[in-house]
Amino acid sequence: MNLKQDKTMDLKTAISTYVKHGCHLSIGGFTINRNPMAAVYEIIRQKIRNIHLYAHSNGQGVDELIGAGCISDLEIAYAGSGKFAPTCIRFRKAVEENLIRVEDYTNYQMTLRFLAGSMGIPFLPTRSSLGTDIVNKWGFSDKMRKSSDKLPDQKLIVMDNPFQGWLDTQKVVLVPAIRTDVTIIHVQRADIRGNCRIQGLTFADVEQAKSAEHLIVTCEEICDNDMLKTDSDQNQIPFIHVDAVVHVPKGAYPTACYHYYDYDPKYLKNYAQKAREDAAYLEYIDTFIHGCRDHADLISMIGDERMAMIAADPETGYAKNLDRR
């Protein structure tokens, strides 16, 4: 816990301070929305390796971290980027070539696992996945689990309802808590102490944030410490959970940030095309990630015209009539 009054820092420092080789990491957002992409790109620039990543359905951010070789182990429910990549392309390649180890859960199970971590309890029960291979097939080996003090010995446990049939339930699946070294989320507004206000769907960001040893928040707008104390019923994460606040406008780009900008169909389509072929993909990483000093550099390379096209309409929160074909 960090109670400092000013937690602002630049992104390079935040990533190098908290995201280490071999760390256990989770990132917020969902498929093509509010992924902390500026932070993802900075992790790639800093060439941090052997990360153990936890995600429910983070499409774009997960795929880029895998594609750049930062990930060795992945616990996930879904790797897809909507219509742009129904299965994330570098993820698929990495699994088929056995470059990463994967453990499959469901979206609800991953969410419950983050919630359990945020509550400080070892597991939570659900009725999901009974009788399926989510229960029967385990990705991580026994040896891998037993040799790591950051992993529970079991993927999950099926047990009889200890309250004998209460709520018409005979069996439950217990899923283990996740406790990450660091979680990174991107929000619309944060103050310099770290209070956060998310607009639109929160996905599992709040649970992910609170299950982390350290939390990095990147934000579209940074506010002084008075502003978010008014209408604070609209805040989701109080500052006690936060370690670093980084002001990164367009920090979720090329994914969407509700009421600020839409996802960029052109970027995501180009990405999917480049991701299919190794040489083209290396060229993509060199141009769009290593070729940019920081996120602001990427945004200026994309240019004002494209940014204007994806700017959110104030009424709907997305870019109306955007060409998404």
Partner: protein, 253 residues
């Protein structure tokens, strides 16, 4: 009136949706089917996304369940914890109809959306469960979209991601799952349903120009075809509303 197979498939799903249904939508054609039902035959049905959006006003077709278009004028914008709890809780979950897709399906409607080949070194890796297994575990009815191909209608799944009827009529009960399961499988050739008693898939309808035998030739396992009838083609009104109100940018169709 000319129509495409995709339009036929979308509208057959839409016709299955009732006014009292909460419709769990995935990406792509399932979202379009939910929008079609809302605009054509079930205006009081509720559109629902696993990301936490409920009763969204979809003025444009979302391209993902986390598309900002699902967040506009909802009854509540919450998160995954709330959406899955609402399906696991039978008070609300009992009204949910799921719409799912998969890479493989077996005769009891169990689905694979994870891998083909060996789990530890797969031939093809797919996206994984997402919320698919959760929905299939919790809700009483679901619709499945599939392409009718031999490698997809298989004797044995390479990986069972989402439960249908598991190994038969008592499968779900024995495993500890709530009652429920798939009610129909909509393909590019016809519509399959599940027998009330045996829970085995059977052919319920074939599209004009396609014979039940053609359909059997596209599956590894055989199904009862004695109950099959020709499917009712889309009406002019259905097609007009689908094209004008649901996907005027032709993003899916």
């Amino acid at each position: 009136m000319y129509y495409t197979l995709k339009e036929m498939m979308t509208l057959i799903a839409a016709r299955e949706i009732k006014n009292s249904d909460i419709v769990f939508c995935g990406t792509g054609i399932s979202m379009l089917a939910a929008m079609a039902a809302k605009n054509i035959n079930a205006p009081e049905s509720v559109i629902f996304f696993e990301t936490g959006a409920i009763d969204s006003l979809l003025e444009e077709l979302p391209l993902a369940v986390a598309d900002p278009r699902v967040m506009y004028r909802t009854s509540a914008n919450s998160g995954l914890l709330d959406s899955f709890a609402a399906m696991q809780n039978p008070i609300t979950g009992g009204h949910v109809i799921g719409i799912l897709g998969a890479a493989q399906i077996d005769k009891f409607g169990n689905l694979n959306s994870t891998v083909t080949g060996d789990y530890h070194w797969p031939e093809i890796r797919f996206s994984g469960s997402g919320g698919g297994c959760d929905v299939a575990s919790f809700v009483p009815r679901s619709i499945i979209f599939m392409q009718h191909e031999k490698r997809k209608f298989v004797n044995t799944l390479d990986y069972m991601t989402s439960p249908g009827y598991l190994d038969g009529p008592d499968g779900r009960k024995n495993a500890g799952l709530p009652e429920g399961g798939p009610v129909m499988v909509i393909t590019n050739m016809g519509v399959m349903r599940f027998d009330d008693k045996s829970k085995l898939m059977y052919l319920s309808a074939f599209y004009p120009g396609i014979s039940p035998k053609d359909i059997l030739a596209h599956m590894q396992f055989s199904v009862d075809i004695s109950r099959a009838k020709e499917a009712m083609p889309p009406t002019e009104k259905e097609l007009r509303l689908l094209r004008e109100k649901c996907d005027c940018q032709r993003l899916i169709l």
